[in-house]
């Protein structure tokens, strides 16, 4: 029994404060990404989510250069990019273009400042931290900020839940119902930016998109009740995160020995497996339904 446990969890897993911190933080950002991801998929804004995280990455690189907590770089640049996209792309077809333009600016800035980071601060770790996250090295003060942001964004989502849903289905109908669709859109994209950037800090700006879209896309195959979709999506995110952390910790014993594989590698892979599995499950369920109906 002990032997199996030791294979599953490398020695020291449960004693390590960093690991416990990572599990808690990882769960929080995975759950929030999962919930908002359902709306992102419904509104077809996954591209926007990706652009926001990369713009945030550029901000984080600048923050690193001037010696500020990278979280502030992520948040400020992410929210700024979100607001820009919302104002540049008022119509659906423009939105795609606006997002693409923001994304390319983001990548340019990010690569420039990451270069400056390694060049001027002498720390070669900057690109790794920003692009692939710092899940094991997040300080206690940052944890507090992330918890605060999570509670705030969760409350805002609850408040705008119904108008958001209605305007995601059909903006025109929402307007005739008296919903200020513009306001809802802006509030939504700011909330999205905050969640994406929290996630970027933890899992890295390159891979926060995986947590945002993957679990939601997988959950959509299980159920068509929106609350269950959000719950499943959050759960898939959390489980992928936990397994990713366990594997990453264990991977110190894998080749190349003593190096450890990044959490940001395992998480998207696991999410992808979940997605494939759920697609298959959805197909099987559908086939069974057809047989029953016949």
């Amino acid at each position: 029994m002990n032997h199996i446990l030791e294979i599953l969890f490398a020695p020291g897993f449960f004693q390590s404060e960093e690991v416990m911190n990572a599990l808690i933080l990882g769960s929080i950002v995975a759950a929030m990404s999962g919930v908002i991801g359902v709306f992102v998929v419904m509104r077809r804004q996954s591209f926007a989510g990706h652009a926001i995280s990369d713009f945030g990455g550029a901000g984080a690189a600048i923050a690193f250069l001037i010696g500020v907590n990278t979280l502030w770089g992520f948040l400020s640049f992410g929210v700024f990019a979100a607001i820009c996209m919302e104002f540049l792309g008022k119509h659906a077809h423009e939105r795609d273009l606006a997002t693409g333009i923001i994304l390319s600016i983001a990548l340019g800035l990010e690569s420039l400042f990451l270069y400056f980071d390694t060049h001027f601060t002498g720390k070669a770790s900057a690109p790794m931290l920003i692009l692939f996250g710092s899940i094991f090295v997040v300080g206690y003060s940052t944890v507090k900020i992330i918890v605060f942001l999570t509670v705030t964004t969760a409350i805002v989502i609850c408040i705008i839940y119904r108008p958001l849903l209605l305007s995601s289905i059909d903006p025109e109908l929402a307007i005739t119902r008296g919903v200020s669709v513009r306001v809802i859109n802006i509030v939504f994209i700011i909330v999205l930016a905050l969640i994406v950037e929290e996630c970027s800090l933890i899992t890295g700006s390159l891979l926060s998109t995986a947590l945002l879209i993957g679990p939601a896309a997988a959950a959509l195959h299980f159920t068509h009740k929106i609350r269950w979709t959000m719950l499943w999506s959050a759960l898939i995110g959390i489980i992928s995160m936990w397994l990713g952390i366990v594997f990453s910790y264990d991977s110190y014993r894998w080749p190349p020995y003593g190096k450890g594989w990044a959490v940001s590698f395992f998480v998207p892979m696991l999410i992808f497996l979940f997605y494939l599995f759920s697609k298959l499950l959805g197909k099987i369920l559908k086939a069974r339904r057809v047989i029953y109906d016949a």
């Binding site: 849903l165 289905i169 307007i175 919903v179």
Partner: protein, 282 residues
């Protein structure tokens, strides 16, 4: 006298006074005068670009006319009026959108409200009642994205009826439907209008499916409108003066077809036998 005036006002759903809407320098609506009383079934007929959507926007309070005024239920029109139920033109729903039929309908009741909704028996009863009224109980628990266009349309009609409106606006509900489904939808709407005593304004480019059920027709062309009983509107002289171009109304088996330009009566006009594409019966 005062009594009868009061009575009139209570019954008036909508009245407009010389509405004009201009985009740039072009009139999209020009001196439009309409009166709709409660319980009336009105067909708003016109081809593409005649100003139908603009008129709908004015009624829904999304657009303020450049000139003239509109009066809804004795008040100025405003956005989000609970007394108007609106059924949008075809909404494209993703096939795996995480909503059941009844969730979509329920949004008609409280979709504009803030706060996380808690399940309530009262709300469920209300939604069930409306679902029954539009014959949508069978597919109420199915995912909306997997339903047919006609079924989705019933749900959108249901969500529009939840607030117990006095005017039901339907934007082109018959386009995209085959002849049989179009007939069924018209019957359904007509029944609802009678049962729930709601005035209906149905936008269409073909008047024929509506001929048996509509009380009055609003015919829009070139931004101008005429309104009245069908036999008063579908006449050569009325439509000719509306279009400012010779037009003939052909009757066949109780159906109507409108053709532009015709031999004998159009002396002085080029002979042209074109039939408006949207008026060709399918």
């Amino acid at each position: 006298m005062i009594e009868s005036n009061k009575f009139k006002e209570v019954n008036m759903v909508l009245s407009t006074d010389n509405i004009c809407v201009k985009f740039d320098d072009r009139y999209v609506l020009k001196n439009v005068n309409l009166k709709i009383k409660s319980g009336e079934f009105i067909g708003l007929i016109g081809s593409n670009g005649a100003g139908k959507s603009t008129l709908l926007k004015v009624i829904l309070g999304l657009l303020t006319p450049d000139k003239g005024s509109i009066n809804m239920f004795g008040k100025k029109s405003k956005r989000g009026n609970r007394l108007i139920g609106y059924v949008p033109q075809k909404v494209f729903l993703d096939s795996n959108i995480p909503l059941r039929g009844r969730d979509l309908v329920a949004l008609g009741l409280d979709g504009h409200k803030f706060g996380f909704p808690l399940p309530s028996r009262e709300k469920r009863r209300h939604v069930d009642e409306i679902l029954k009224a539009v014959d949508a109980e069978k597919f109420a628990d199915s995912p909306v994205g997997k339903l047919s266009g006609g079924e989705q349309q019933r749900l959108f009609i249901a969500q529009a009826l939840l607030t117990d409106p006095k005017l039901l606006l339907l934007d082109e509900p018959l386009s995209n439907l085959d002849i049989k489904s179009a007939y069924e939808v018209v019957q359904l709407i007509s029944r609802i209008a009678r049962e729930r005593k709601v005035a209906v304004m149905l936008v269409a480019h073909d008047m024929n499916p509506l001929l048996g059920v509509m009380n009055k027709v609003i015919y829009l062309a070139e931004g101008k409108a005429v309104m009245g009983k069908t036999d008063k509107i579908f006449r050569d002289d009325v439509l000719t003066s509306l279009y400012g171009y010779p037009v003939q109304v052909l009757h066949a088996n109780g159906r109507i077809m409108i053709v532009g330009g015709q031999g004998a009566m159009t002396a002085g006009f080029p002979i042209e036998d074109h039939c408006h594409p949207s008026e060709v019966r399918k």
